[in-house]
């Protein structure tokens, strides 16, 4: 290995882009915090930051899964209503059938993985575009969630279950610890496993990946199953926070999760995205939502803002990709 000479040969423009990639989102987060501090001098407090962090947890877990999907060149629109369904399944097991909370939680994750299995199979074997397959699943998951819950919120989780969202360990809110564990695990998956490496390869050049002998179909299914399992995990955290299962709560989360992934550097063109980026992106989204609440903006207007942010983030990604394609063509000759 020649680490020093390896890095010294990098083209300056490459280094600049990599810095923008790595630090751009963090800079945006800091700017938003500074901006909010101008409106409210005491906006940046430990309490507020922890609250933002806890509120970001659900979105961050979803965004990590969505990032894996986006890295492979796909998209998952079903994470929001899928989360509702996972939550309702948890409610059915824990409340209706009075099973243990552990089993209920496990079933939430199994349900999420099952949704991913269907998504992945439709995409890998039936050849559906990911956008359509997961859009259909968005509706299907919503419908099943409403059927199982009969359209009502489900109350009556055991009191201890609240600990997941409200508990602390060594002074740190438990959701943040859960997020940290998931982030570490997924960073390992992204960077050190074939699943992660092949997701990047498929997103970069699917035909090339196939020619290199990668089992593209199997990897795609594994990608959506992983994202689905994370949806299940997110549903546990959220259900604990609202101390109930709500069949309508998830819808709209896909918007936040995709926006968080893209703000965090994932490219809808595929081949790019990181766990760290997804978390920063989710923190940005949570900070914006928290800030809009503090500013007294109505939830309706917030929806508009979030939608606009998603569009802006994707547009920036398109501009960046165009520029890179241009540079790449220039170098090729």
């Amino acid at each position: 290995m020649r680490p020093s000479s390896e890095s010294s040969h990098r083209h300056p423009s490459v280094v600049v882009w990599q810095l923008v990639d790595k630090l751009g989102a963090i800079a945006v987060l800091v700017l938003i915090l500074i901006g909010m501090s101008i409106f409210y001098a005491d906006f940046v407090t430990v309490d507020n930051l922890l609250t933002i962090g806890v509120q970001a947890t659900t979105r961050a877990i979803l965004a990590i899964g969505v990032t894996l999907v986006i890295v492979s060149g796909g998209i998952d629109l079903s994470v929001g209503t899928g989360m509702s369904l996972c939550m309702v399944v948890m409610g059915v097991f824990a409340i209706n059938w009075e099973q243990s909370m552990w089993l209920a939680g496990a079933m939430a994750i199994v349900t999420g993985a099952g949704i991913g299995l269907v998504n992945g199979s439709l995409i890998a074997f039936a050849g559906l575009p990911p956008f359509i397959a997961t859009l259909g699943m968005l509706g299907i998951a919503q419908g099943i969630a409403l059927m199982l819950s009969e359209g009502y919120s489900m109350y009556g989780f055991p009191a201890e279950f609240g600990f997941v969202a409200a508990g602390t360990a060594v002074g740190i809110p438990l959701p943040l610890i859960i997020l940290a564990v998931i982030a570490l695990l997924m960073a390992y998956v992204f960077k050190q496993t074939r699943l992660g490496r092949y997701s990047y390869a498929i997103g970069g050049n699917e035909e090339g990946a196939r020619r290199a002998g990668i089992p593209v179909r199997g990897i795609k299914i594994a990608i959506y199953v992983t994202a689905g399992a994370l949806v299940g995990a997110a549903s546990i955290v959220l259900a604990s926070r609202i101390n109930s299962a709500h069949p309508g709560i998830g819808f709209g989360y896909e918007l936040d999760a995709i926006a968080a992934a893209v703000i965090g550097g994932a490219s809808l063109q595929g081949g790019r995205g990181t766990v760290g980026g997804a978390i920063i992106g989710a923190l940005i989204m949570a900070t914006i939502r928290f800030g809009l609440n503090v500013l007294g903006m109505s939830p309706f207007v917030q929806q508009i803002v979030i939608g606009a942010i998603l569009i802006a983030a994707v547009y920036l990604d398109i501009v960046r990709t165009r520029q890179e394609v241009r540079l790449s063509r220039l170098r090729a000759h």
Binding site: M1, S7, H9, Y200, A201, I214, G271, L327, S328, H333
Partner: protein
Amino acid sequence: MTLANSAATGVPLVEMRGISKYFGGIAALRGVDFSVRAGEVVALLGDNGAGKSTLIKTLSGAQPPDEGEIRISGTPVHLDSPKAAKAAGIETVYQDLALCENLDVVANLFLGRELKRGPLGPFFSFFDGGRMMNEARTLLDRLNIEIPSLRTAVRHLSGGQRQSIAIAKAVYSQARLIIMDEPTAALGVVQTEKVLRLVRDLAAAGIAVVYISHIMEDVFKVADRMVVLKNGRRVGERLTAETDRDEIVRMMITGVDERAGAGAAV
């Protein structure tokens, strides 16, 4: 004399006999014979639709032939899938580059056969970045391929460097025969020279190369032998040293081997 290869005698590494391939009622290949020896660069020539791609696909396992026999080192083989062809030591470097531009050089070279290390085997292991880096360095040095940083994403490299990496990837697979489809089509002059030199280096190392190109100048620089196809038939072949551009182009256009007297009817 270009054909200075001592390896260019003896049993062919790959021998294709009477290869035919039909698509519906249309014959894309009709009884084509084709062979390559170890250490030999054979150019496959012909106008669009002559059957070059189809012949290559029968050899790379992508489209097994309907009739005919393929022998490797004298042994009949059934190349009924790309996997079978790879297992037989046949690798293809495609025109449109099968590299992942978002991955770095090392990741591309090892794509699909990453080296791992770790105490718990498949359950918890890490990519062995150091070992892959070292092996990649050794391989590229051996092939005289200059890439400043192997940690650079491929999209940041020149076309010639990308093509060289695609070729190196084939070499790393222990390829005995490498098929190259228009490897210099998208390259500038300097980069073309480097790739052509790499092809000659491979041949010198005993690897057989099937070289497809429309660029006659490149073909005459790099090939030991040329085989001309037209309308799915083999027109004829020439040693590079014993022919010239005009004769080859005439063969491609007319589909007639002038030296064969009657010539091959098309």
